[in-house]
């Protein structure tokens, strides 16, 4: 129950804040990116944290969603809502396909396959003239109602999406689905022999994860009024998703939120004070640090401390 109250508050803030004209536009501009990473990290964690299958392909799914949205917009003048649904469907299908191909094998093959998908997707988009090829495509934003600016509206959309994504992740985590995923992460062989349909669960997690990432990618072309392969299939999405989930904590739905917000703010601070490259390096180092020293992530550590205090 507490969760839904919290979610409701966030939702109100997410929609209410952009409606208030006093707040600086930049807040929403930067906030949109942070929320995007919240969704990406949460989505990544469904397969990566709960099931234990590392996915290096967020750019592929994110990009698939973005390009699907572009196609829908260009071809059918589809409204944003339809774009998002379409993007989720396409990315989900991609997730299912990649999963079908490689989830029968060990985790590392899946991981490598996801790297492959990123490259292949990027190459495909570079060569597809309809969506602009290598040079990219300019997009004209349709007029916006209710909100003062398109960016504000996108922020609100992303806020809703974040809440939805987290709600889905949370449901999976606490339900029998989550238990099955955890079982297969702990020992896939034992899980199979205790009746857990491991392949089906893995495919499920992969598809949902991919679909959410695609949904996160859909508003991106409108956000930038532009789309092109190089920045869409960028490594930073991989690092952001993995980093957010690992640093925040992989076993709990709160983890990716904490991680994404932390990385997002860190990114803004470091980029402004030192340099853009340095920021990226810092994230990388943090990632390795947490992987090595604190695999439970921030949320995990927090829970551990709580338990220790109780005793």
């Amino acid at each position: 129950m507490k969760f839904w109250i919290g979610a409701g508050v966030v939702l109100l803030a997410g929609i209410g804040l952009p409606l208030a004209p006093v707040i600086n536009e930049y807040v929403f501009y930067a906030g949109y990116m942070v929320l995007t990473f919240v969704v990406l990290a949460t989505a990544w964690n469904i397969l990566g944290g709960y099931a234990g299958y590392v996915n290096f392909g967020p750019p592929a799914f994110f990009g698939a969603g973005a390009y699907a949205a572009v196609v829908l917009f260009k071809w059918l003048q589809a409204p944003l809502a339809v774009q998002i649904v379409g993007a989720a469907a396409v990315a989900g299908l991609l997730g299912f396909g990649v999963g079908l191909l490689t989830l029968r094998l060990r985790g590392i093959f899946f991981a490598i396959a996801t790297v492959a998908v990123v490259f292949i997707m990027e190459t495909l988009m570079v060569n597809w003239r309809y969506v602009g090829g290598a040079t990219g495509l300019q997009l004209l934003r349709p007029p916006v109602e209710l909100f003062d600016s398109y960016t504000r509206m996108l922020f609100a959309v992303m806020a809703v999406m974040s809440v939805a994504a987290v709600a889905i992740a949370r449901y999976i985590q606490v339900s029998w689905l989550g238990r099955g995923l955890r079982a297969l992460r702990d020992s896939e062989e034992a899980a199979e022999s205790t009746g857990v349909p491991t392949l089906k669960l893995k495919l499920f997690a992969c598809t949902v994860s991919g679909a959410l990432m695609g949904a996160a990618g859909a508003p991106m072309p409108m956000y930038l009024s532009f789309i092109e392969p190089a920045s869409t299939f960028n490594l930073s999405y991989t690092v952001g998703s993995l980093g957010g989930a690992i640093i925040g904590g992989m076993s709990h739905w709160l983890g990716p939120i904490v991680g994404a917000i932390l990385l997002g703010t860190l990114q803004q601070v470091v980029t402004v004070t030192i340099s853009n490259e340095m920021n990226v390096l810092v994230v990388g180092v943090l990632l390795v640090f947490f992987v090595v020293a604190a695999p439970e992530g921030i949320v995990g550590l927090f829970l551990k401390i709580k338990k220790a205090i109780r005793k």
């Binding site: 985790g107 093959f109 492959a116 490259f119 490594l235 993995l242 180092v285 990632l287 390795v288």
Partner: protein, 275 residues
């Protein structure tokens, strides 16, 4: 020609991933690191091939260090190790790539040597000299490694550790030290591969991601742990890429390795020569 080069580049991975089962996605990144060190030595007047050979020793030590760290932190722990090990190597590759960007910038670098820039005619074809050098080195590397693994004691121990660790322990050999040694060799080899990389074409920091595709494609296609298979697979990849390059143009070429990889994973994950 290109194929042999790819084979040489992938041999190190064949050992570390194929035989040792380490999720070493940072292998190409280390190779690129080798390329850059070669370049640095090049500015001091070193011949790139000599530089590559010289770098093998420090890289060997680097490999040993990395493995010891990896083993201590990950291999001795429990179920989560798979995810974390993979994430660790990814983070490592990422740090190397960004570090290189910070130090050297994003531009491409290349080296000068007596045999670069020249080519010699073989009937109708003109073959760039540097490719021949790479080809020769690659063949040499493959043969010596294959011989090493089958003839020497440590070599065979490495192969054994891949198949049956407890048995090896019973024979009195320490599996951790052997794996360490093997990983060191793999890393040392990638130093040489890095030198060859920069001989063959200009290098930039982001290139390691492309090579992840190529090296893993070769290793998977070959079948884990097969050295000669690596050579064959490298050749296949090289030929496939060249064909695509000629027929469809440069924008499609990067996808070849990855596509082959996906196809192989889907149809025949043991590869051509795998166990």
């Amino acid at each position: 020609m290109l194929g042999c080069f790819y084979a040489a580049v992938s041999i190190g991975l064949s050992v570390s991933f194929g035989l040792l089962d380490v999720p070493h996605v940072a292998h190409p990144a280390i190779m690129v690191l080798g390329s850059y060190f070669t370049w640095v030595l090049g500015t001091y007047g070193w011949d790139p091939l000599a530089a590559g050979l010289a770098l093998m020793v420090p890289f060997f030590l680097l490999g040993v260090l990395i493995y010891r760290f990896y083993h201590a932190v990950f291999e001795s722990r429990g179920s989560d190790a798979g995810v974390r090990g993979l994430a660790f190597f990814f983070g490592l590759a990422f740090i190397i790539e960004v570090g290189l960007i910070l130090v050297f910038g994003v531009d491409q670098r290349s080296v000068e040597a007596a045999y670069i820039g020249k080519s010699f005619a073989l009937g109708e074809y003109r073959i760039p000299m540097r490719m021949v050098v790479a080809f020769g080195v690659a063949l040499l590397l493959t043969f010596s490694l294959t011989l090493y693994l089958s003839k020497t004691f440590t070599g065979r121990a490495i192969k054994a550790v891949a198949q049956d660790e407890p048995a090896l322990r019973l024979m009195g050999a320490n599996p951790v030290r052997i794996k360490q040694w093997a990983f060191g060799i793999a890393t040392g080899v990638s130093a040489l591969a890095g030198a060859m990389l920069i001989i063959v074409s200009p290098v930039e920091p982001a290139i390691d991601r492309l090579y992840i595709g190529r090296t893993f494609c070769v290793v998977v296609l070959a079948g884990l742990g097969s050295m000669t298979g690596t050579l064959a697979a490298g050749l296949i990849l090289g030929i496939a890429e060249s064909i695509v390059l000629m027929q469809f143009g440069a924008s499609w070429a990067p996808a070849v390795a990855f596509s082959i990889l996906l196809i192989v994973l889907g149809i025949r994950p043991q590869g051509l020569f795998g166990r």
